[in-house]
Symmetry: C2
Subunit: 217 residues, 2 copies
DNA sequence: AGAAGCGGATAGCGGCACTATCCGCTATCC
DNA sequence: GGATAGCGGATAGTGCCGCTATCCGCTTCT
């Protein structure tokens, strides 16, 4: 397959494919002459993965490059790949160091120990959680912590479902990718489901119909 | 309070505050002379809200402007504000029209009717969900639908917790904001919890410790 | 032979969230 | 009452990001 066909099959423009190759997201095609190359099914799949992580998962190109490098490295242990993927879902940014942040960190530490989670507070997810809770506290929504355990229950269920799914595909060669896809796209799936459930729950409570008027911008 | 103090109190630079005013995120200060103005606590709170939606919620400035305009409009009914906020968590983009997308839409429609959710398929969240499932299908993870109901169960629980939280603060004037904050920041909270739970669940399964080595980029 | 397509390289674009600079004015300190 | 710091308002510029446009000389198809 040549680049034009690859482009047609995936809906990704030729210059964009070239760009992905330059950025190391996609391996170059196999050269048949000094300036001709062919691409295989692996390239097609890889392109689909890139577009999914980009469009659905909202990851950045550079982050995707990291994760794919980890995926391609056969020496990389599973939990490192997971770490690479999860890290990139983190929103980065800098943490305040005010009273609310300190309180939020304490809440998170308590939550982790209370639930017996085998992780520690240096986990980027824990930092993100602290930041979110601190922001809520600053906004006068400190009481949100009262529903944290409901959230954590649901999170555990989802995590178990994820693991069950990954574990089901015993083929080891696909497992790494399944973890990445499950983590990143699973997040998008859950967020969409949550918003759907919100509409229903609020309809139940406030008696509106669930239809969404589109804004006339 | 003058703009410098507002800046110091919130950690947002003076030019950035001016920028937010220009973009309509923040109302201008009250003029005491033709070119002097003072800001109150409302401005401080509003700035915190802006930063939270921006940094933690990952929203864009223009989207925040929309949501805040909806919040400020006393005529705007609750569910419209919710719609405005939820819409902006949508990833936008264009939907393919291939076999996987059609199948995904069918799965979503089925899910909605099976769970009796009072919403319809034109809801942007439903579109997002279809897109995510279609992407998974294209990647050979069509079997992910098998855990969709586990996800939906958890999503319902979270949505109920959200509603319970919002409903608890009977004060109507804060309710709108509570909905927005709960929807947007709640998403960040849940995603972080899910990643924490992942680490624990995979530790349980694969016997690694849960510590996260930081990448040495 | 001619046209279309290719690989590779470099430069440019549009969107976004700021940031820098300048202006004339004002509040404040001494 | 004069210096100085800060102010409101406006305009232009910056850095990053994900592409996109253009050009080159070469190959493949017809």
């Amino acid at each position: 397959m040549r680049i034009g066909e690859l482009s047609r099959n995936t809906g990704v423009s030729v210059p964009t494919i070239k760009y992905y190759v330059r950025e190391g997201l996609l391996p170059p095609g196999e050269l048949t002459s000094p300036n001709q190359a062919t691409y295989g099914e692996a390239h097609e799949r890889r392109l689909q993965l890139i577009r999914a992580l980009l469009d659905v998962g909202g990851m950045k190109v550079a982050e995707i490059a990291d994760v794919l490098a980890a995926l391609d490295d056969p020496e990389r242990p599973l939990h490192k790949v997971l770490g690479a993927a999860a890290d990139h879902l983190s929103n980065g940014g800098v943490e305040h160091d005010d009273a609310e942040s300190a309180a939020a960190r304490a809440v998170v530490a308590d939550l982790i120990s209370r639930r017996g989670w085998r992780t520690n507070e240096s986990n980027p997810a824990a930092t993100d959680l602290s930041k979110a809770l601190a922001a809520m506290d600053r906004l006068g929504h400190g009481a949100f912590v009262e529903v944290l355990d409901d959230y954590a229950d649901a999170a555990e269920q989802v995590a178990e479902a994820d693991l069950r799914y990954v574990d089901r595909r015993v083929a080891v060669e696909g497992m790494m990718e399944a973890v990445v896809v499950g983590t990143v796209l699973g997040e998008a799936v859950f967020n969409a489901l949550r918003r759907l459930a919100h509409v229903d729950a609020s309809a139940q409570l406030y008696g509106t119909d669930g239809s969404q008027e589109r804004k006339t911008s």
